[in-house]
Symmetry: C2
Subunit: 241 residues, 2 copies
DNA sequence: GTCTATACATAGATAGAC
DNA sequence: GTCTATCTATGTATAGAC
C-alpha cells in the first residue's frame, strides 16, 4: 500500500493541466482524512465518513466566505448558516476560530508541499526543470486556487509560527526556482550575467498572479497551460544563452 | 500660477528614483489640501493648517494600522489612540468609517493618476515609453507604498463604485502597457508574434510585486532603480525583434 | 453530536459637557 | 472643536436540553 501511494506521488503528470488534475486526484482525496488524524486531540467528534465530510465542508465554506470578506470579519454565525451546522456543532470540530485557521493552513500546505517537492526532480535539463516547476506551481494553484488566495491574503494577520511557516513557503518556492537557474548556469545552459535572486523573485510574482487575479484570467479565457507556457517563455528568453 | 503647476507636472523626472522623488514633492504636498476642498461637505471642522495636518495624520495612521490588521478590524478606538485625537474629534473629519475609506482611496488615486498619465507621453521610441512607464510606476509606488499596499489588500472588501474604480485602475495600468507594446509592434520596434494582453498582464504583476513584497526587497537592499531596470530588461528581451 | 439560548466583550456611532 | 460617557448591534464562545 505504501509503495502504491509513493508511486502515485512520483507519478504526478505535468504534460497538461487535465492530466495533472487526474494524477493528483488520489493525493488530494485523503488529505482531509489525514488532517483529521493529525488534529484528533482538538476534534471532539469521532472520525467517521460523515464527520470527515463535515470537516471538509467547514474548511471549504470558511475559505469561501473569507475570500469575500476576510477571515477576521467572517462570523461564526455566518459560517454556521452557510455550512449548515449549528455554532455548537462547529465548536465540536475546532476549539476556537484561531485553531480553525491553523487547520485550514495545514490543509493547504500539506497538499502543496507534496506536489511541488516532487514536481521537477525527474527532469533532465535545467530548461525542463524550470518548465516543469512552473507548470506544477500553476497547476496546483489552479486546483487549490481558493486556498492559495486565502493563504496569500490572510498571511499578514497570522501570528507566530503560522506567519513564519507561510513566509517560509514563499521563500522556499523562490529558492527552488533560484536553485534551478543557478544549476543551469553552472551547466552552461543559461547566461552567466543574470541576477538569479531577482529573477527568482520576479518568477514567483508571475506565478502568484495566476491565483491572485482569477477573475481576470478566467474572464479572458486564459488556460493554465497557456499561462504556464507564456511564463516559461518570458523567463527562458531572458536567461537562455 | 496655473502654468507653474502644470509645468511641474510635465516636469516629472524619471532619470532615477532620487530625482523623481524631488520632482513630485511639490505635487504631493498639497494633495491633502485639495482633498479637504473636495470633501468639505463631509468635514465638520473648518479648514486650517492645523486641521489639514490632522486629516493627513488620520489618513496615514489609518493606512498604517490597516496594513497590519486590515481596515475592517481597525477599531475607531485604536485609530483614536494612535492618531492622538478622541473618537468624537475623529468623527468631525468624516461621518463614518466607510466615508473615511473613500477619502483614503481618493487621496491615493488622485496622486497616482497625476503621475502615471504624464509619465511617458514625452518619450520618442516605444522602448523608451515602456521603460519610462515602468520607472514611473515603480517610483510612485515606492513613494506611496503604504497606500498601494492598502489599496491592493482592501479592494476585495470595497463595494459599489469604490470597487469599480479600483478595478478600473488595475485595468487602466494594464491597457496603458498594452497600448505601448502594440504601438511598438505597429512601428516595427517589437516582435509581431506576442500575446500583448498576456504580456501586459504579466508586466502588471511584476510591477505590483514591488509594493506587495516590500519586506523582501528592502531586506535584500534592492533599489527601485535596479528593480525597474530588471523588469524592463526581462520584458524587453521577450518582445524585442 | 447537535441544537438553542445566553454570557460577556467589543464594535461603530452619538449626545451633551466644556 | 474636542472631550467622556453611553447607546445599540454584533462578535466569540459556552451551557445545558435533547
Amino acid at each position: 500500500m505504501k509503495a502504491e501511494k509513493s508511486d502515485n506521488i512520483h507519478g504526478i503528470e505535468l504534460e497538461n493541466f487535465n492530466s495533472f488534475k487526474k494524477s493528483i486526484k488520489f493525493i488530494l482525496a485523503d488529505i482531509v482524512s489525514k488532517l483529521y488524524d493529525d488534529n484528533r486531540q482538538l476534534i471532539r467528534v469521532k472520525k467517521s465518513p460523515q464527520s470527515i465530510e463535515n470537516l471538509k465542508r467547514i474548511i471549504h465554506t470558511a475559505i469561501r466566505i473569507s475570500n469575500k470578506k476576510g477571515y477576521s470579519v467572517m462570523s461564526m454565525r455566518e459560517l454556521s448558516t452557510v455550512s449548515s451546522l449549528s455554532i455548537g456543532a462547529l465548536y465540536a470540530y475546532f476549539p476556537s476560530k484561531d485553531e480553525l485557521l491553523h487547520i485550514i493552513q495545514q490543509y493547504g500546505r500539506t497538499s502543496v508541499e507534496k506536489v511541488l517537492s516532487e514536481s521537477f526532480i525527474h527532469s533532465s535539463s535545467s530548461k525542463d526543470k524550470l518548465y516543469n516547476f512552473i507548470r506544477a506551481h500553476i497547476f496546483i494553484s489552479e486546483v487549490l486556487k481558493d486556498w492559495f488566495y486565502f493563504s496569500y491574503m490572510e498571511t499578514r494577520y497570522f501570528t507566530g509560527s503560522e506567519y513564519n511557516k507561510t513566509i517560509e513557503g514563499e521563500l522556499l518556492t523562490e529558492s527552488l526556482i533560484k536553485d534551478i537557474i543557478e544549476k543551469g548556469i553552472k551547466n552552461n545552459e543559461f547566461r552567466r550575467d543574470i541576477q538569479t535572486s531577482l529573477i527568482a523573485s520576479i518568477s514567483k510574482a508571475i506565478l502568484q498572479d495566476w491565483y491572485l487575479k482569477r477573475w481576470k484570467y478566467s474572464k479572458r479565457g486564459v488556460t493554465p497551460d497557456e499561462y504556464a507556457r507564456e511564463c516559461f517563455l518570458i523567463l527562458y528568453n531572458y536567461i537562455k544563452l
